[in-house]
Symmetry: D3
Subunit: 166 residues, 6 copies
Amino acid sequence: MTAERHRIAVCPGSYDPITNGHLDVIARAAAIFDEVVVAVVDLPVRKGGTLFSIEDRLGFIEHSSAHLPNVRVEPFSTLIVDFAREQGANTIVKGLRAISDFEYELEMNQLNRIQTEEVDTLYLMASPQYSFLSSSGVKELATFGGNIGGLVPAEVARRLQEELWR
Amino acid sequence: MTAERHRIAVCPGSYDPITNGHLDVIARAAAIFDEVVVAVVDLPVRKGGTLFSIEDRLGFIEHSSAHLPNVRVEPFSTLIVDFAREQGANTIVKGLRAISDFEYELEMNQLNRIQTEEVDTLYLMASPQYSFLSSSGVKELATFGGNIGGLVPAEVARRLQEELWR
Amino acid sequence: MTAERHRIAVCPGSYDPITNGHLDVIARAAAIFDEVVVAVVDLPVRKGGTLFSIEDRLGFIEHSSAHLPNVRVEPFSTLIVDFAREQGANTIVKGLRAISDFEYELEMNQLNRIQTEEVDTLYLMASPQYSFLSSSGVKELATFGGNIGGLVPAEVARRLQEELWR
Amino acid sequence: MTAERHRIAVCPGSYDPITNGHLDVIARAAAIFDEVVVAVVDLPVRKGGTLFSIEDRLGFIEHSSAHLPNVRVEPFSTLIVDFAREQGANTIVKGLRAISDFEYELEMNQLNRIQTEEVDTLYLMASPQYSFLSSSGVKELATFGGNIGGLVPAEVARRLQEELWR
Amino acid sequence: MTAERHRIAVCPGSYDPITNGHLDVIARAAAIFDEVVVAVVDLPVRKGGTLFSIEDRLGFIEHSSAHLPNVRVEPFSTLIVDFAREQGANTIVKGLRAISDFEYELEMNQLNRIQTEEVDTLYLMASPQYSFLSSSGVKELATFGGNIGGLVPAEVARRLQEELWR
Amino acid sequence: MTAERHRIAVCPGSYDPITNGHLDVIARAAAIFDEVVVAVVDLPVRKGGTLFSIEDRLGFIEHSSAHLPNVRVEPFSTLIVDFAREQGANTIVKGLRAISDFEYELEMNQLNRIQTEEVDTLYLMASPQYSFLSSSGVKELATFGGNIGGLVPAEVARRLQEELWR
């Protein structure tokens, strides 16, 4: 039996914006690991657009995960495995919803493991009530004035309506 | 940030017999968690046959994981979430190889989470060189005298040939 | 625009036993069609076992769908398309949960359409909370003393415990 | 048994352009429901381009479905469930061809059902001869001068050649 | 550019019984390779039952492929890669119908390639009209008196009715 | 048994750039067929960008396949089946890595077979060590300074770093 180490997990994503499905994965990771770093992709604008700025996306997560004491939020703009090592994390945690997630993650997983053997990735199956939920689906729905309550935190719902209906 | 806890993960399976793909998952879990309990299904014979007895299956795993100090092996015959709680584990770790694994695990995952919210399941993607490897495939191959070196520990390969060719 | 016809849909299955997921599909079909016939496979015993008798399986459905006035329950032992025509139905309705359901149903669909052009099959996507639920999963869970409340009607839960624990 | 109601189904899509696979689904829906409304997405140009104008897309469907007396064609630019309710329809009917269709539709299905419980979606499995057919595939083929006879109505084939080869 | 060699492909299966989908794959392989050996699994009875004897299964294929001069039929009871080498073939050809075929074949492919580097496997996508067709589906259909004309050769249809209805 | 013909296979792709996975498929095709033509898509610039010019992409393949005497490289800008016929090839060979490849290829396969019955397509399963490898994944990795040695030929790795880091 090994000595207890401080176990840090990184939850990466673009979070444009965070959904209640993302929050479910983050909270479940926070129950398993000592510390969770939510890592938000921060790419130069020319790399293709997010709807919300990096500041907004970080803020939404900070507010909606404030009740989870062992969670913090950071931007990143390098390879995720390099970011994880900088944070002292040897684990990445991601949610899996569907076959297409699975295939994409399988590919990413192998490419990441070629980069370093020090960081591995673990997956959580999406909870049924969030298995159909994605940031892009929510944005699509909001564009047409659909009801997005229950899908995203209240602050995000309000800001989506401001962005997409002005 | 929470205090470090002793983190135990359970790796369940029938392991009939253990393959090098199973060992890869167990070793990767042992690098992430403080302690790993390999849990081997022990059902009454009438429940349908394993090729190897529970004693053999436990032994194969003990011998082939002897170099991993934070791994131990136990039989179980209850719901896996109940077994995990008895062991003080709040995490189950399983390998994912293919779409059919994914679908089965998704179903199991939700049924298990209905049983208790205290135990969650994390998945590791199979390493490419083991992505095609299953106990049943190895047994099939051994039946026809195929080469199973590199697929299972040496002791298992020898015993498979004894069982299937006598 | 055509004149209104009396539209009958058939919901076939072995229902061994009925789950709350089956009931969800039946109720949704009953909201769309004028009449729903729940068709329960009744095969000779040698064809491989159901846990519950045809009488039990019919009874469970009758009791749990008693609140749906346009639903009735019938056994069948022929090709489902032949049964549908005998009932005056030109539609079969089935639930889809996962990729493996999809593939199996796609195959059945084409084989059925070769039998007759008069009967077509429509599919309902399983509700998220039932997307992981199958009769065999429930029986497996019950065998190990798991909690199956919320997964099947109360009468079925009680009978499963009697059957599997005596 | 409930009284017969006038059952309207909505078949939504961008139909850019309609294919013989779309027509197969529309005709099968028209055999099951009293009335079928083919609903054609009409989004502002900035939302990303269709090859054909909304007028063209509506016209192609009207001409090729003229033999189906209980089918009519309408543009829509709201949430599909809102459009369905305006039309007095409680059912949406869509075709399913492949796993990727299935996953997308499963996600859309759950998002739509959150909007309203009054409208449900039913799926028809694509007929084998159209299981590989999509508007984008036809456009790709036409771009390279491929033979698209048998894949789309004759008028559409002619117009595709005009658009893509001028 | 290498000198032309005599290229032999092996098409293995249990062919219990051969379907028109199998014949489509065999004929397409015969158009690509110089010689095609249809290899029929011949296992001891205790290995689990085929409906038809090895003699019947071989005979059905011989009769239905008699118009293809470069096709011959052989039983085999070893690893398929060993059989291929005995026949002087460096290629196995199989049909792919669905995701579940794909996953199974991917696994088999890698296990076979571990056995020898001299034999590789090529796959043909099933023609749409046979994409839903399997020996087990045909047997199921025949058991219930369904119409199997167009799915199997006439001789097979007649014999299936004799076997399953006597 | 037919007389030996000179068997030519075409391996089409955009190869932007070629990876070691592509090379594995090309080498395996070259072991099965008398001659292999690697066909590189050459579309007008407005059709959407490749990172490397057609000259670069052709050159990378020529250099990295120079050890395979029966392989040559050609650009094409027509339907692949038309190109195959011009080359005297009746076979296209492609690699299959994942479910999404399978679905796309199934669709393409049927569209191609409608164009001509003279050309058929055969698929090779990706070798495990390349099952996660795609040109776009490599480019993504290179953009972030990841290690791409072992994934592409050395010349390609050098040029990727020049293109993406200047």
